[in-house]
Symmetry: C2
Subunit: 359 residues, 2 copies
Amino acid sequence: MSTSSHSYPMRSGDDQHSYIHHSSYQKAGINGAEEKTRQFILEKLDLQLNSGLSTFRIADFGCSIGPNTFHVVQSIIDTVKVKHVKQNNETRLVPLEFQVFFNDQPNNDFNTLFRTLPPSSEREYFSAAAPGSFYGRVLPRNSIHIGHTSYTLHWLSKVPEHVCDKKSSAWNKNYIQCNYLIEEVIKAYKVQFIKDMDVFLDARAEELVPGGLMIVLGHCLPDGVPLYETWQGHVVDTIGDCLMDMAKSGILSEEKIELFSFPVYFPQFSELKGEIEKNGIFFIEMMESIGHPLEHMSITTDFITSMFRALLTTLIEKHFGDGVVDELFNRFAKKLSEHPFDFEMWKTQVVYYVVLKRK
Amino acid sequence: MSTSSHSYPMRSGDDQHSYIHHSSYQKAGINGAEEKTRQFILEKLDLQLNSGLSTFRIADFGCSIGPNTFHVVQSIIDTVKVKHVKQNNETRLVPLEFQVFFNDQPNNDFNTLFRTLPPSSEREYFSAAAPGSFYGRVLPRNSIHIGHTSYTLHWLSKVPEHVCDKKSSAWNKNYIQCNYLIEEVIKAYKVQFIKDMDVFLDARAEELVPGGLMIVLGHCLPDGVPLYETWQGHVVDTIGDCLMDMAKSGILSEEKIELFSFPVYFPQFSELKGEIEKNGIFFIEMMESIGHPLEHMSITTDFITSMFRALLTTLIEKHFGDGVVDELFNRFAKKLSEHPFDFEMWKTQVVYYVVLKRK
């Protein structure tokens, strides 16, 4: 099974810097979508749950190491069970068994995932890990009833071509994320994003049963807003500034920074919708941007530092080597405390929530 | 999903002492069984492969971390593919997809398993890990076409009751494995073995599709031969002697040894057969003891030391704490080189090979 893609998992294990302790931002967004998913399943899931189906299979694509993924799948299972009972004469009910596939890159820390699974006495599903890039098939065809992915699709399968090529007109210079001031750079990122989206949707369509649902949650830009106008974009630009400061102090070479770009792309809302429609393999049953519960909270410097550290450590270490991350995020935290962010001043990415139905 | 069982995985990772490098003995036995399995699948597997089946699911129960498990599943897949083509008109053939579930305890090192999977370009199956004790359900009902397990069923789900209870007549004293000189100890081990076998067979019967095969390979005693007459039994007795030597040197307390017994039981061939028949949930399609390819090789001290170290480290560390294993196996190797084993003098366990068919 050939699924080729670079892999930058979230920070593994459960030490103070790991993703397991710094995924509350993602969790808040997931909770916001939970009620919508419940409603949708109850009202519209059409899987002929009464026609002899004995195993209901759920997959979370790009699940990382928890705990968000456990929460999401449990909520889906609870809802499907309610629906199953409603649709059937309770006396003749064959209990549905659930199997959950936790998918992520093969170098994701599945040992930690398994170690932190809800206790088997409370868990009403058979758990399985399905390793592999979701930019490719990871499960047999027609095997999944509900797929889910949250905060994953901004990760491209690789850094777009030419973006780190100094001889190319798409060279991103010393920017470490998509530089919206260089037309060719935007184009390169966009091309990669479109290619990846198509691969993702095609693979999921094969894996889902007809009528199966794919729930996708993530960050995008509001229409007309470039990344650098959002606080999230500004945070990464500031991390880039810290890397350049380290180069000036002789800790890193500037050349190394010029050869580095995050494989991350945030589409605008309509752009994302357009790509799903162009792909055409799924019905868009619902697509909206939803408020994020943390949107109006005061977000602290510590919170920002910890979250981005957990998200970006693997990628940064892979390129710059060990021992850079501490220094980098110390500098970043210092910069943030010296020049506090006024989040009100910045635009923000929005959370999109999409329910796709396999045609 | 409640599956309760103690868990003592093989030595993890891939350092010099890990199971990954010291599983050649098991591999030799597996190779010996391979041809039999191929023949059986080709001649007798009756799964109506032509009736619209699109995914063929295989599970290896107690797979450890490889590489043996990869070899076994690939061989099964190759054979099923041949059979699938034979049974179908090639022009109308819908290619079969394969999904393989690697099962072992949740604290098995699945990260290493995934890291060492055959490269995705060569692997013709979707891989998944199914964590959990195989003394209980780990997969949905009616989902597996061929199950396999090798060298696992001598591991009991726990140390038999009372064997480590100094007040019990079934107390095993300072023996660290089933002491065949104490009737009550044998009985306690036997009771646990029967209980575990029943749970194992019942769980697999639920997971397999009707007509599905369960291939079981392992070590047992020839009828009428007690463990202590075999060289394998003698090796573990010698490890026990080394522990007692360490107690005498004040490194360990004798009390601690008295509270320790391996949760391992090797049934005699007819005893095993009898238990499967009594359980009654499977047809025994084939059951024989097969020669082990290494049987007539000269087995070196190093080989024995490395193999038993990889097998027993986790269990010993769990009871006696870190830092005991090096000393113990140094002493064991020394004892073995001072008093070399004459393997010819000892009886040996035999390898049993069983093919069960779900009724």
